[in-house]
């Protein structure tokens, strides 16, 4: 995707995951770490939660 790849490849975003009690901040992530988080989620105590990055 032109937007995601060319414009935001190295950009950094504040990220969070959707924990059982609501959103939990996980700090700033950049580049491939963002992509990895969005694709694979965030794992806490062997449980993987949906993760989101960026302002929305």
């Amino acid at each position: 995707m032109a937007f995601a790849v060319s414009c935001n490849k190295n950009k950094c975003y504040e990220c969070h995951y959707d924990g059982p009690n609501g959103e939990v901040e996980i700090g700033e992530k950049c580049g491939d770490d963002v992509k990895d988080l969005e694709e694979n989620g965030y794992t806490v105590d062997s449980v993987t939660y949906e993760a989101h990055c960026g302002e929305h």
Binding site: M1, A2, F3, A4, C7, N8, K11, Y13, V34, K35, E38, E39, H52, C53, G54, E55, H56
Partner: protein, 752 residues
């Protein structure tokens, strides 16, 4: 009414040279537009009214169309000549008559169905922010928008796939089914737009029940010169900037144009000073045009690229969302989610071969590629992403057995594929393929004061996907008559009866998911049948030297009309809408306009227009998304400064949108509102002239929402007062040998 005088001198030269002058003063008319019909090439006159059209072997008999602002357009039949003088009379109404391309080879005053033509230069003072906003200056045309971005045209209440847009004959295919999906075309390099309202544009499309929009590229350039148009504009309500550059070159047998545009708009300001979050957008585009003409051959190629990143307002994590959930106190233009990321590549090639005076062949091939993505919660992974490829081939044979008879026959075929690349769980439409065939034939004839026309068209479509596999065959026709007579002044009356049929789109058949851009959950119906419209269109025009009036009533009988109807439910906070067919419905209304140009004040133009559309089923129950009646009035002053620096124009425009209370039980009425716009322009007339245009939109800071606005769903209103300013200039660079040819031209003209 003065009769234009043409003086032609025969020679063996292959250049057509001449001068366009004012009939009364004899002064040269600068920047007149000269076009050779059927060869599809033109030129602009220079500062002295002189022009050169170069062609190696002009046909013996040619027809020229000469038009200029403030003058009455002329259609001139001439024997191949090397020098001519065109004397033009002033047209006080600026209702320019020109050969329209949407009904090829015919002056718009001679078409049997009313067509509107919009010259983009006429909108200099109002400076619309987008192409669709520009189109709304035509009576009967409104837009669906969300503030300032991604407008979609609505013609006499019809929208979406019922309004088909063509760019130099290329059908624009880029997910036009969604009313939040923009045209993907900017105003850059567009010279004019022609609109046929209703299904009468059968030569181009059988499914354009709402109308055909035909966009013309600007092919005009001074001979042997490079013309570079540069402009920069600013809009205060959204801190929006638009910068563009367009270069054109006309030399020997070719014409080249290249241009680029970039715009960036932050969140727009509401009337209370706060901002609509994520109403920001960015548009970038480039285009390339090439025309080659030699002997009987004319080749055209156009490429257009556009890239838009458009914020989707109306997103919140509040569990109980209200309109305040979408508003912010900070204006921002940085990219944020959710957003649409849209990229278009359009390729268009055209080959015209004039066999002889009576026969011409035209072959057109085009390809459009659209990459459409919606990012909702993730930066790298779009929830919805589709790639649409569309290839079209079209062949036309034009036969002119006499000057007064024209027969245009041909066929076309297109192949379209839509493929999803996003999250499979969020697919709104399935992967699909669509194959279309069409054959058509039109007949046009002039019999004394009558003009007659008839068109027949047959369309076949096969649509296949995992969810549906349907085939459709539909036939349509159109007949029209025009009658001219003299009573006090020129009178014209037109009557046209046309039918159109539109097979349901894959979205209407199979949609089942969230449509974030439209803030809706949409559900299709696989059993929908083609919808059909039969329209009776009556048009009367009266025109004197200082006054003109037109009234255009119409009635459409609709069968299997497919509309997006609200259901009384929500899915994840989105209201649910379903595509439903109404067996019998009707749309009717009137477009009317008046133009007064006082004899005692030839710098003043007073214009007013009114349009209203009623849409209802035969039960009767109103149809959804019907535009508000609109009354538009404008006072405009056009000046020619005698000094180097001076005002060239002023404008005051008032638009009154009447309330819309004819709504379905699950729609809400919309209040009436006024919009006032003022503007002025100043010109610095140096070797490189500069023009500054400035004005104010929504002068009274009126809080309003249009009935068609996508913001209405989420309880929001449109932008507040906005100041705008635009600086533009045209740079002319001479090419080698120009001075010599100009000198020869001058001598040639003086000798006559």
């Amino acid at each position: 009414m003065c009769i234009p005088l043409l003086v032609a001198y025969t020679s063996y030269s292959q250049s057509l040279k001449g001068r366009v002058i004012d009939l009364h003063t004899g002064e040269g008319i600068p920047y007149a537009q000269i076009e050779v019909q059927n060869i599809n090439i033109g030129a602009n006159s220079n500062e002295n009214g002189e022009f050169i059209l170069t062609h190696e072997n002009l046909p013996e008999r040619i027809i020229l169309t000469v038009s200029a602002t403030l003058y009455e357009t002329q259609e001139i039949a001439a024997v191949c000549c090397d020098s001519l003088i065109v004397r033009m009379d002033q047209d006080h109404h600026e209702m320019v008559e020109i050969v329209i391309k949407v009904d090829p080879g015919i002056l718009n005053k001679n078409t049997t169905v009313h067509s509107d033509r919009l010259n983009m230069r006429e909108l200099k003072l109002s400076s619309p922010t987008g192409l669709v906003e520009a189109l709304t200056s035509i009576n009967g045309v409104q837009q669906i928008s969300a503030g300032m971005s991604a407008g979609k045209p609505v013609i006499r209440g019809m929208q979406g796939m019922r309004v088909v847009t063509f760019l130099e004959g290329m059908r624009i295919e880029n997910q036009q089914w969604g009313n939040d999906h923009g045209l993907g075309i900017s105003q850059l390099g567009i010279q004019s737009a022609e609109i046929i309202k209703g299904p009468a544009g059968l030569l181009y499309a059988g499914d354009a029940l709402g109308g055909v929009i035909y966009l013309n590229e600007d092919r005009s350039a001074a001979y042997n010169k490079v013309t570079i148009d540069v402009s920069s504009a600013f809009e205060s309500v959204s801190l929006g900037t638009t910068n563009s550059v367009m270069a054109k070159l006309h030399q020997r047998n070719s014409f080249i144009s290249v241009g680029a545009l970039s715009s960036s708009f932050a969140d727009f300001q509401l009337t209370n000073g706060s901002y609509l979050n994520d109403s920001r957008f960015q548009d970038h585009g480039a285009k390339l045009g090439y025309v080659y003409f030699k002997d009987k051959l004319n080749i055209e190629f156009d490429y257009l690229f556009s890239k838009s990143i458009i914020g989707i307002p109306g997103h919140t994590h509040d569990s109980l969302a209200t309109a305040d959930s979408y508003i912010t106190d900070e204006q921002n233009r940085s990219i944020s989610l959710p957003l649409q990321d849209v990229m278009n590549h359009f390729f268009n090639g055209k080959l015209i071969y004039n066999l002889n005076e009576k026969h011409s062949l035209k072959l057109q091939a085009s390809h459009t590629f659209n990459d459409f993505a919606e990012f909702e919660e993730k930066v790298f992974t779009p929830e919805m992403r589709m790639r649409l490829n569309n290839s079209t081939v079209r062949f036309d044979h034009i036969w002119r057995p006499k000057y007064t008879i024209r027969v245009n026959s041909g066929f076309q075929s297109s192949l379209q594929s839509n493929v999803n690349f996003g999250n499979p769980d969020d697919e709104l439409l399935p992967n699909s393929n669509q194959l279309d065939y069409a054959a058509f034939s039109s007949f046009f004839s002039r019999l004394g004061p009558f003009e007659l026309s008839a068109v027949a068209r047959l369309d076949a479509r096969n649509l296949s996907s995992d969810l549906v596999n349907r085939s459709f065959v539909v036939g349509n026709g159109s007949v029209g008559v025009l009658y001219k007579w003299w009573a006090i002044s020129n009178n014209i009356i037109r009557l046209n009866v046309s039918s159109g049929s539109r097979a349901p789109h894959i979205a209407e058949l199979t949609a089942n998911g969230q449509h974030h851009g439209a803030s809706r959950y949409e559900i299709g119906d696989a059993n929908l049948n083609p919808e059909r419209a039969t329209q009776i269109d009556l048009d009367y025009e009266f025109k004197t030297n200082h006054f003109s009036f037109s009234v255009n009533p119409y009635f459409s009988y609709l069968q299997n009309y497919i509309q997006l109807s609200p259901l009384d439910s929500t899915v994840e906070n989105f209201p649910v809408y379903a595509y439903q067919a109404i067996q019998k419905a009707r749309m009717y209304g009137v477009d009317a306009g008046v133009h007064y140009h006082p004899k005692f004040a030839n710098w003043l133009h007073l214009e007013s227009g009114y349009s209203i559309t009623y849409g209802e089923s035969f039960e009767p129950s109103p149809l959804t998304f019907m535009p508000q009646p609109l009354w538009r009035s404008k006072a405009r002053v056009a000046l020619r400064p005698k000094k180097k620096l001076g005002f060239t124009g002023f404008m005051v425009q008032h638009q009154f949108y009447f309330e819309q209370n004819r709504v379905t039980s699950l729609e809400t009425p919309t209040d009436a509102y006024h919009l006032i716009q003022i503007a002025a322009s100043v010109k610095l007339d140096t070797k490189t002239p500069f023009e500054l245009t400035f004005g104010v939109r929504n002068l009274l800071n009126e809080t309003y929402v249009n009935h068609l606005s996508r913001l209405k769903n989420i309880g929001l209103t449109e932008p507040g007062r906005s100041f705008y300013i635009k600086l533009s200039t045209t740079i002319n660079c001479s090419l080698r040998g120009t001075k010599e040819s100009e000198s020869k031209l001058e001598n040639n003209i003086l000798s006559h």
